[in-house]
């Protein structure tokens, strides 16, 4: 099953899948629907930290030094605890200044220096190329191991093998092509690659699953759990050494150095800076990644020691390299599927590292090495060219190919030599040299360009002398006596016992001397002279990145420039179309802020800074500075002016925030006031309405009382019959007046919520019968006929008995009032509904016009022809009844066809439903 075509097809299929994921990620990013805007994806992408050095190499290290493989993962865990502080600041700085690489970061901090950017790039490339070589070696070894399956033959490369026949050469080429397609499809002003991040996250998942699978297989498949492996190993004195002690002697110093070194590497390796800082979508993702990424590291390390011990036991004396145990153990058990999974896991670890690392390095090489050289030596060509975006992409693609070929070359030269085995830590030590300049630059204003240059150079030289050259000597590329006798035979200069320092392992030794030189030179030279304007400016922007000052907004430029010149300049690097849309978007943004929307040929400082930041994304901040200066007449700012501007900007920010807060409070208060005012006006209007209605209604009976009284007074000779009739009218009008006043008071009480309600459970049938009895006199006078339909044993309802009787009397007396004498019929029904009882009072009176059916429920509205029929009610009965029914959760309504009578109905909910509603 594991023949060459299968392996090649599987690899290509896997790479194709990755590419599809990356393509999809880019497409979604273009649509603004990012698939990597997720803390888990972010944490997984950080796991690009785990290369083949982890995937295959950890077991190899564990087979030699026991738990000595662990500190390399403990350091990152500790640093991630500080990630919320350090990484957050780095992310803020990178976003505010459009920084695209670690070289750009350092260059930008120390006054946008070309020299520093170049130096950082050179250190990174020299430090990382062997690390890339290690990945190529891992892939090519595993491929040749697989090709010899089912035999387990350690790959032995013959130095005479031609490049054309060397499989790793093709691997390097495929990876280069892959990286070019991933990383340089188009020029992005922020150098973000969402698709690549998505693919890297997927790879991290695959390598974790593969490693856990092989770990579980070895621990529980070949052996019988952890205890079993450790028991077997304990029987062997050689192996017992691996499980019981940290390698004696230099153990704890070495352990501590590795913790520190790996902690720095996880921040400053170009690939880590790329995924953790440059590709960060949202700084809030840092929070979850702070513990998810360490958890990933823990998981991928759980089975390392069991696999190492298992392999040592299993292949005892067979000469199988411990670096290959992850693959050879499943091979020896004929687990072909697992073997293929492990191979893909290793391929993930290798390709992930190579892709991200070469993209990051190619950006650095292009922006901080090639562009500055072009600007210096070929300025006219750059300034004459119309569109340089193709050139930029070309440089980056070229850099990717060159870096991978250099990696291949190193691998060819080094072969199985020592230099490759130890390279992980040698690379870590190289990038650790960035720490003083970078961390110092973020927290200390006093660091200068000169200090950073001196520190980096000194650290780099010491690193090369104490770690890189000895590794060459151990590989046989340099005479071995160089190690034993020192440079020129001077014993004090022995590279691994520099100045006679002994008792440390080589990594701690290098770390001590290189940091001493690095930090000493950085601080010492920085203190020689005060920072220049550009340095002080950038220092403030970086150090204060988390406070008001560093958050942009300050305009630190003075001079004259033309908009057209700037746009043309940006267009040369980003392409004219993208430049135009970027400038237009900027103008729109400012227009919408009211920042002056008239188009002027003269660019203001804000626009110049915008153009420079656009360029900085594409060609690095130092080159961007040079290019902008080339099209603008600039007047230098003094340091006092810069500090003044920064202060002002920060104060302005504080003021504006304060102002915003105040205005928000003001708006809220105004709204409250408005609402209160509206309520007041409403109440006032209601009061006026009632007053005018009441006075009007009171005037009518008063007027008639007064008129009859005057008649009686003025005509003493009036007939007794007339006199009695008038007195009767006066009495009835007075009664009406009393009723009116009582009902007005009643309604006012109900409406204001001050009415007394005596709710109790009662039988509606009984209430209705009582009401009908009370009104029987009136009915008899009208010679009307009342029918009832009142079923027994209906559920009780919760209401106030007297109030309900009031409602019933009102409805009944209304019905009686409008009946024709002699032929009137009233029908009262009580019926059961799903959620309550319904009472209807049906009459065969004149009915109510549709237009009036709502009016009758309004206060003081009596319908009917008021010219012919004198109103006999108060106009308050129905409104009060409706409010009473509504108070108990029911409703009151009327149905009527004019000329055929009217039906007044009300419904009331059952007692239990009502109690629930109240509760």
């Amino acid at each position: 099953m594991l023949e060459a075509p299968v392996i090649i097809a599987t690899s290509l299929l896997y790479l194709g899948t990755l590419f599809a994921v990356a393509w999809w990620g880019d497409k979604r990013a273009d649509q603004g629907r990012s698939i990597i805007a997720n803390p888990t994806i972010y944490a997984l992408s950080m796991a690009v930290y785990c290369t083949t050095w982890t995937f295959y190499g950890s077991v190899g290290r564990a087979a030699v030094s026991g738990i000595g493989f662990l500190p390399v993962y403990l350091g990152p865990t500790l640093v991630m605890a500080l990630g919320w502080i350090v990484l957050l600041k780095m992310i803020r700085i990178v976003k505010a200044n459009r920084i695209t690489s670690i070289a750009d970061f350092i260059s930008s901090r120390y006054g946008k220096s070309h020299g520093l950017g170049g130096l950082v790039t050179i250190i990174a490339v020299i430090g990382i190329i062997p690390y890339i070589a290690l990945q190529l070696k891992a892939v090519s070894s595993t491929v040749s191991l697989l090709l010899s399956y089912p035999e387990i033959v350690m790959p032995h490369r013959s130095a005479t093998m031609s490049v054309g026949a060397d499989i790793s050469f093709y691997i390097a080429l495929i990876l280069a092509a892959f990286t070019i397609v991933f990383g340089t499809r188009h020029l992005d002003a922020t150098e973000r690659h969402e698709g690549m991040v998505a693919a890297i996250a997927l790879e991290s998942g695959v390598k974790l699953v593969a490693f856990l699978a092989v770990g579980i297989f070895v621990t529980y498949g070949i052996y019988d759990g952890f205890g079993d492996i450790f028991d077997h190993a304990a029987a062997d004195p050689d192996l017992q050494r691996l499980m019981t002690a940290i390698p004696s002697g230099k153990g704890y110093t070495s352990w501590f150095s590795l913790v520190v070194l790996s902690g720095l590497a996880v921040l400053f390796l170009p690939r880590q800076f790329q995924v953790a800082v440059v590709e960060n979508v949202n700084e809030a993702h840092l929070k979850r990644a702070a513990w998810l990424f360490p958890l990933y590291l823990l998981l991928i390390n759980i089975f390392v020691l069991p696999i190492a011990l298992g392999g040592l036991l299993h292949f005892s004396g067979q000469g199988v390299d411990a670096d290959t145990f992850v693959l050879t153990l499943p091979m020896s058990q004929r687990q072909e599927g697992l073997v293929l999974l492990v191979f893909i896991g290793g391929l993930s670890a290798a390709t992930g590292m190579v892709i991200v690392e070469t993209i990051a390095l190619s950006t650095m090489v292009c922006n901080d090495l090639v562009m500055p050289l072009l600007l210096r030596h070929n300025r006219s060509a750059i300034e004459d060219a119309k569109d340089l975006s193709g050139l930029l992409l070309g440089i980056r693609r070229g850099a990717i190919v060159v870096i991978l070929l250099l990696g291949y070359l190193y691998f060819r030269l080094a072969g199985e030599a020592y230099a490759l085995v130890a390279i992980g830590l040698i690379s870590f030590s190289a990038v650790a040299q960035f720490a003083p300049a970078l961390i110092g630059g973020m927290y200390w204003r006093g660091g200068t360009r000169g200090g950073a240059l001196a520190g980096l150079s000194a650290g780099f030289v010491v690193w090369g002398y104490t770690l890189l050259l000895p590794s060459f000597a151990k590989s046989g590329w340099l005479p071995g006596d160089f190690l034993a006798q020192g440079f020129f035979g001077i014993e004090l200069l022995r590279p691994q016992q520099l100045f006679g320092l002994t008792g440390m392992d080589e990594i701690s030794h290098c770390l001590f001397w290189s940091f001493l030189a690095n930090i000493g030179a950085y601080v010492g030279v920085s203190l020689l002279r005060p920072p220049m304007v550009a340095e002080a400016t950038q220092a403030t922007l970086f150090v204060d990145a988390l406070s008001e000052t560093g958050q942009g907004g300050a305009v630190l430029w003075r001079g004259r420039a033309q908009v057209s010149d700037l746009q043309e300049l940006v267009g040369r690097f980003l392409g004219p179309a993208r430049a135009q849309s970027a400038f237009a978007a900027f103008a729109r943004r400012r227009g919408s802020q009211g920042g002056g929307d008239e188009v002027t040929p003269e660019a203001d400082a804000k626009l110049v800074q915008f153009a420079e930041s656009l360029l900085a994304g594409a060609i690095g901040s130092a080159s961007a500075r040079v290019m902008v200066a080339s099209v603008a007449k600039e007047e230098p700012l003094s340091i006092e002016e810069v500090m003044h501007i920064l202060d002002e900007a920060s104060q302005l920010r504080t003021y504006s925030r304060e102002l915003e807060r105040k205005s928000r409070e003001l708006t809220a208060a105004t709204l409250e006031l408005q609402a209160a005012n509206e309520r007041l006006q409403e109440l006032d209007r209601v009061k006026d309405d009632i007053m005018s209605s009441v006075t009007h209604e009171l005037r009518t009976p008063l007027t008639s009382i007064r008129a009859f009284s005057e008649l009686l007074r003025d005509d003493p000779k009036m007939h007794l019959a007339d006199r009695e009739r008038f007195l009767g009218l006066i009495v009835s009008e007075t009664e009406r007046l009393t009723r009116l006043i009582n009902q007005t008071l009643d309604l006012a009480k109900i409406e204001s919520g001050r009415a007394d309600w005596n709710g109790c459970e009662l039988d509606l049938k009984e209430v209705i019968e009582q009401s009908i009895a009370a009104i029987s006199q009136l009915v008899r006078e009208k010679e009307a006929h009342v029918e009832v339909d009142l079923p027994d044993n209906l559920p009780l309802i919760l209401a106030d008995r007297d109030r309900l009787i009031q409602v019933m009397l009102n409805l009944l007396s209304n019905a009686v009032k409008f009946l024709k004498p002699g032929s009137g019929r009233i029908r009262v029904t009580l019926s059961l509904h799903a959620d309550g009882l319904q009472v209807s009072v049906v009459d065969n009176g004149p009915g109510i016009r549709p237009a009036d059916q709502q009016l009758i429920f309004e206060k003081f509205r009596q319908v009917g022809d008021t010219m012919t029929a004198k109103p006999s009610g108060t106009g308050l009965g129905l409104p009060i009844s409706r409010r009473i029914v509504e108070h108990f959760g029911g409703r009151l309504w009327v149905e009527s066809v004019e000329g055929e009578g009217a039906t007044f109905s009300f419904s009331l909910p059952f007692a239990h439903a009502q109690q629930q509603a109240v509760a």
């Binding site: 738990i67 500790l78 502080i85 704890y252 352990w255 913790v259």
Partner: protein, 66 residues
């Protein structure tokens, strides 16, 4: 604002705890040829301490303040 400061302080505390737990001299206390549940003591100790530090970090950043 206070939440953020508190979470930040907790993370720094986790960092310091990790520094102490992962290094000499605490580490040397467990560097003995003993076993817990069949697992070498120092190996078990490191993974346990590691898990505790990760747990502390998760607690610091994920906890909802009430």
């Amino acid at each position: 604002m206070h939440r953020r400061i508190l979470a930040g302080d907790r993370l720094i505390a986790a960092f310091l705890a990790g520094c102490a737990l992962f290094n000499y001299p605490l580490l040397s206390l467990f560097d003995r040829p003993d076993e817990v549940f069949g697992i070498p003591l120092v190996y078990a100790y490191i993974f346990a301490a590691w898990a505790v530090v990760i747990g502390l970090m998760a607690w610091a950043v994920e906890r909802r303040f009430k």
